[in-house]
């Protein structure tokens, strides 16, 4: 074997590399924890863990400042595999260690899969109102819905990413083009003071020529990363036909926004910027939400939602109770009691998580736990054996 290859191999199987990677891993985890005060728990995952390099914007230029989770985790995986393949020699004494490391490899792969495949949504249910979709926590979309036919809706959605790019969007199902004149990733909305009111004269002008935007003032805000807040994007969109413009509308993801209707060529369209929806082939209906506090305090004692689950084909029609530490698992999704609206006991908020890789951590952890316990016992037995031999030797002497 030539020297270069040997050096290469020695590098990848070395324990030194392991220790260095573990140290880098610690710094990564610690840095990510601190950065949560700026970016929130979601922001740091893409920046620190689901990346090859941690990019920090310095004067607007992203600069790689540290190896990211994929880099460190990937090298650790290589190191583990290489070391075990190269040094593998079965001995009962080492069985625990081998099991532990096989488990670790699975855990790393599992976390990679989770990062790629996991998704979570929120589902706000109002008592008695059936719902068959959940909404994204972070994503938004511009939906243009042709509601002309009472039997069905024809929906075209433009994802937030496209809106942010600006420009003009054309879609074969739409008889007009959508020109994005302004887009703000977070905004605040308030009513415009009437022009007759004393405040009215000083209100800023609006680009909107149609709809709610005429009577509202939209103020762009900095993006928020707080865990209990979400960004409410807003945009001014102009609908352009071959003949000319239909007008400019203000759309925002603010839930107070009333429906905006556009009539064109005998078709009725509803235009809304909304939280990205994820439709399900089944319907959930809130039957009853209960929320107790401990007597004389406002410490929550329990929350529970009584839900009716139905599928259109009638195969499922049952009642389920979702409460703390007891989620509903259905069709690969986990629905758990996430929140409620204070003072409104007719509403419940569920969180919906899809995590197809959920089984891997269980397997991995069982292997590691068995491995560690075995190894610990082997060591302990060795320790007592040694003491016994010493004692015996002392007695003999």
């Amino acid at each position: 074997m030539n020297d270069v290859i040997r050096q290469f191999r020695d590098f990848f199987v070395s324990l030194k590399l392991t220790v260095v990677l573990l140290v880098l891993g610690m710094i990564l985890v610690f840095g990510a924890t601190l950065d949560q005060t700026n970016l929130g728990v979601w922001g740091i995952q893409t920046k620190w863990f689901r990346s090859f390099f941690v990019l920090q914007e310095i004067r607007g230029v992203p600069v790689p400042v540290f190896p990211g989770g994929y880099f460190i985790g990937g090298l650790l995986l290589l190191n583990l595999l290489a070391a075990h393949i190269y040094r593998f020699k079965f001995a009962w004494k080492k069985a625990g260690i081998v099991l532990t490391h096989v488990g670790l490899i699975m855990l790393l792969i599992g976390e990679l899969l989770t990062g790629i495949l996991q998704d979570d949504f929120s589902m706000r249910l109002v008592q008695g109102e059936p719902k068959n979709y959940s909404e994204s926590y972070r994503g938004n979309e511009l939906a243009i819905i042709d509601t002309t036919n009472p039997d069905f809706d024809d929906v075209v959605v433009i994802p937030e990413g496209l809106l942010a790019k600006g420009g003009v969007v054309q879609h074969p199902k739409l008889p007009f083009r959508v020109s994005i004149k302004e887009f703000h990733p977070n905004s605040n909305l308030r009513a415009r003071a009437p022009s007759t009111a004393p405040m009215g004269a000083s209100e800023p002008p609006t680009p909107a020529t149609q709809g709610v935007g005429l009577n509202a003032v939209m103020t762009p805000l900095r993006m928020t990363y707080k865990q209990d807040e979400r960004n409410l994007p807003a945009a001014y969109i102009e609908l352009l036909t071959a003949e000319g413009t239909l007008g400019t509308w203000l759309v925002t993801a603010d839930t107070r926004m009333p429906e905006q209707i556009v009539e064109h060529n005998g078709h009725t369209y509803s235009v809304a910027l909304r939280f990205t929806r994820n439709y399900k082939p089944y319907t959930l209906t809130l039957q009853k939400f209960s929320h107790d506090v401990y007597a004389g305090t406002d410490i929550p004692k329990n929350f529970s939602s009584q839900i009716r689950l139905t599928t259109p084909d009638g195969r499922d029609d049952r009642e389920v109770l979702i409460y703390m530490n007891n989620p509903l698992r259905y069709a690969g999704l986990t629905f758990y009691q996430a929140s409620f609206e204070p003072g409104n006991d007719k509403v419940t908020v569920l969180q919906v998580v899809r995590n197809p890789g959920w089984l891997l951590p269980y397997l991995a952890c069982s292997l590691i736990a068995i491995g560690l316990v075995a190894q610990f016992c082997i060591h302990l037995a060795g320790f007592f054996g040694k003491r016994r031999r010493i004692a015996a030797a002392a007695a003999a002497a």
Binding site: S14, L15, K16, T18, V19, L22, V23, G25, M26, V29, F30, A32, T33, L34, Q36, T37, V41, I44, Q45, F49, G110, E111, T114, Q118, D120, V293, Y294, A295, G296, T297, I299, P300, K301, N302, F303, M324, N325, N326, P327, R329, L333, T334, F335, Y336, Q351, V353, N355, W358, P361, Y362, C365, I368, A369, L372, V373, Q375, F376, H379, F383, R387
Partner: protein, 646 residues
């Protein structure tokens, strides 16, 4: 004779513990113990008045004793007696210095100047003691009477500070909010039983009782603009306003649920119960009993007081037997103060164990071992008592985690000491036991430590598995760090670290690190499984999860570095001390996230404590990195060529 010393120590320690378990006796003519055992509902659970009195005092002024630096002796004999003065004789309680204020800006708001704060001791001995810092030289506790004139200013400032998120408040804002909430808390206690400031509330209630029916008629007539008895209507209105004020100010449920009420937690405030008199035409007997107690206390009639306590208690007995019994045990648990007592034993054991390295290693070593054992058994009892009172696994909040971390570490120390018998285990037990109980004491200052579990944590299964295992991991990581400290301090500053001791310390640290890896890993994984079970995700990278992960990685680093020959004895010790930093971060730092990162949060007391601990550990690491020939123990053994011990 000398060889009986350990036995003697054991006997004395056990007797001392036994004494603390004897039911507390009344010091004066009043049945204060009986009163302290009466139940009330606060923070969502039924507890004895004694507990509320103690946790209120801790919260208001950081200690259970009520005294003034200028007086010798205490102002009241027990927390319950203080509570009685607050509720029944407020004009006296208002002159007790029970509000701790340290922030200079808040003191300035109260018009306190530097010269007002200085304590002018009359005895020269005390003046000297104050000068050298053995006794306080400045006032830090103030009476309500001193604060009351400034209440409007306090309220204004509190209103300004309130909208600011607690994590980003300035020290002044935090201090003013704390004072404001403490004043509210004090008023809640004052209004909990009777209307404060009434000379004879019982008589008022009795005459009210005689006139309810007529009075209600008079009020109705008045509202309908019909002829009515004006004085009667006026009295009714006045009583009504008084009761509703009591009910609004206080939120302590001191009045038991009505007969026939199914919900055993439906205790009422005294004000709410008295307001009901208008419907029932009957003054609630429990409210009357407390008014009677108030009169007996004000007029200093101990026989009557004791009789009323007895009567009220036997009235409750039929319907609330189990709750009364539990409250009684809790009051006895409070009086026994097992954790403070263990703390003393740990401190003593530490000193004895250290001394055993200088003289009489065998006798003193065993004495220290027994002291540690007694302290450990005592805190075991305390933890079990808390578990029984709460109906929960041992760790439910930060306070109980401090108890448990100490308990687990000391248990490991006892095992180590049993095998090695070189007093190292006892020294470590003394330090860790004492330090964790000290931390626990500081955590208890925020109020009652037996808290109700928030809905999201309400799972005894996972509290018993994940939380206990991961906390055991903390214990073990800390223990390895403290054992390493012993190695470094003895090796660096003394000549006592011979090869045998050094080797056995190395084996101890290595073994404990293995143990810590096992427990912190399994604990972290169990946490992941809990998260997956209830939230559908195994890992979310939130600060607490990351903290646990850091401990696992750190222990893994130590083990791999050792296996790879990258570190030897000293390196192992240095890394183990690093484990102290990592664990303290995971334990407390993650909870402060958002505090420490904002520039003005740095004066937060807990943050300062954590930062100083980290700095001290870094200093030890720095010292340990000195060349081995500077270590006194190694310099003496191999002056020419220093070979690092393997």
């Amino acid at each position: 004779m000398k060889k009986f010393l350990p036995l003697l120590v054991l006997i004395v320690a056990v007797l001392y513990v036994g004494k603390s378990l004897v039911p507390p006796k009344n010091q004066g003519p009043y049945d204060l113990v009986g009163f302290g055992q009466l139940p009330l509902l606060a923070n969502g659970r039924i507890k004895p008045i004694d507990t509320e009195a103690r946790s209120s005092l801790l919260r208001l002024q950081g200690r259970q004793r009520v005294s003034s630096p200028l007086l010798s002796g205490d102002l009241v004999g027990s927390p319950t007696e203080w509570m009685l003065d607050v509720i029944f004789r407020p004009e006296k309680a208002d002159t007790y210095p029970t509000f701790a204020i340290d922030n200079p800006d808040v003191l300035a708001l109260l018009g306190k100047k530097d010269e007002d704060l200085k304590i002018n001791y009359t005895s020269p001995a005390k003046q000297v003691l104050a000068l050298v810092g053995f006794i306080p030289s400045r006032h830090r506790r103030f009476t309500l009477a001193e604060i009351w004139p400034h209440r409007a200013a306090i309220q204004d400032q509190a209103r300004l500070a309130e909208p600011v998120e607690s994590a980003v408040r300035t020290p002044f804002q935090s201090a003013i909010m704390q004072l404001y909430f403490n004043l509210i808390h004090y008023q809640r206690i004052q209004h909990a039983f009777v209307m404060p400031g009434r000379e004879n509330f019982l008589n008022e209630l009795l005459s009210f009782q005689d006139n309810i029916a007529a009075g209600v008629e008079a009020v109705k007539a008045k509202q309908a603009n019909q002829p009515h008895n004006e004085t009667m209507a006026g009295m009714m209105m006045e009583m009504g306003e008084m009761f509703s004020a009591m009910g609004q100010v206080s939120n302590f449920g001191v009045i038991p649920p009505d007969a026939g009420e199914k919900d055993p937690t439906a205790w009422k405030t005294s004000g709410a119960a008295l307001l009901e008199s208008f419907q029932t035409s009957q003054v609630n007997p429990a409210a009357l009993a407390y008014a009677g107690l108030a009169r007996a206390w004000r007029q200093e009639q101990p026989e009557q007081f004791n009789k009323l306590v007895q009567l009220y208690r036997s009235g409750l007995e039929k319907r609330f037997g189990p709750q009364l019994e539990k409250a009684r045990y809790e009051a006895r648990f409070n009086a026994a103060e097992p954790f403070y007592l263990s703390m003393e034993f740990y401190g003593l054991a530490f000193l004895v164990a250290i001394f055993s390295w200088l003289k009489w290693p065998d006798v003193l070593g065993r004495s220290a071992f027994w002291l540690v054992a007694v302290a450990w058994v005592l805190s075991t009892g305390g933890i079990f008592a808390r578990m029984w009172l709460e109906g929960r696994p041992p760790v439910t909040n930060l306070y109980s985690s401090a108890l448990f971390v100490g308990w687990g570490a000391v248990a490991l120390c006892l095992v180590l000491e049993y095998f090695y018998r070189n007093a190292v285990g006892s020294v470590a037990a003394g330090v860790v036991g004492f330090a964790t109980l000290l931390v626990a004491h500081h955590l208890s200052l925020s109020g009652d430590t037996l808290e109700m579990m928030r809905a999201v944590l309400d799972s005894n299964f996972w509290l018993a598995t994940h939380v206990v295992v991961v906390t055991t991991g903390y214990s073990a990581t800390f223990l390895s760090g403290f054992l390493a400290l012993i190695y470094i301090v003895r090796g660096l500053f003394t000549r006592s670290l011979d090869k045998a001791t050094a080797d056995s310390l190395t084996r101890m640290v290595y073994g404990i690190v293995c143990f810590a890896t096992l427990f912190s890993f399994v604990g972290t994984v169990l946490g992941g499984i809990w998260a997956d079970q209830s939230w559908g995700r195994f890992w979310g990278w939130d600060p607490k999860e990351n903290g646990a992960l850091l401990i696992v990685i750190w222990n893994a680093i130590i083990l791999h570095a050792r296996w790879g020959g990258m570190i030897k004895q000293r390196g192992l010790m240095i890394l183990a001390v690093g484990g102290n930093i990592v664990t303290s971060w995971s334990w407390f730092g993650t909870n402060m996230l958002g505090v420490g990162l904002h520039s003005y949060g740095f004066t937060d007391a807990a943050f300062v404590a954590l930062a100083s601990f980290v700095v001290s550990q870094l200093a030890i690491i720095g010292l340990a990195s000195l060349p081995l020939e500077k270590w006194r123990s190694f310099r003496s053994t191999a002056p020419a060529k220093v070979a690092e011990p393997a």
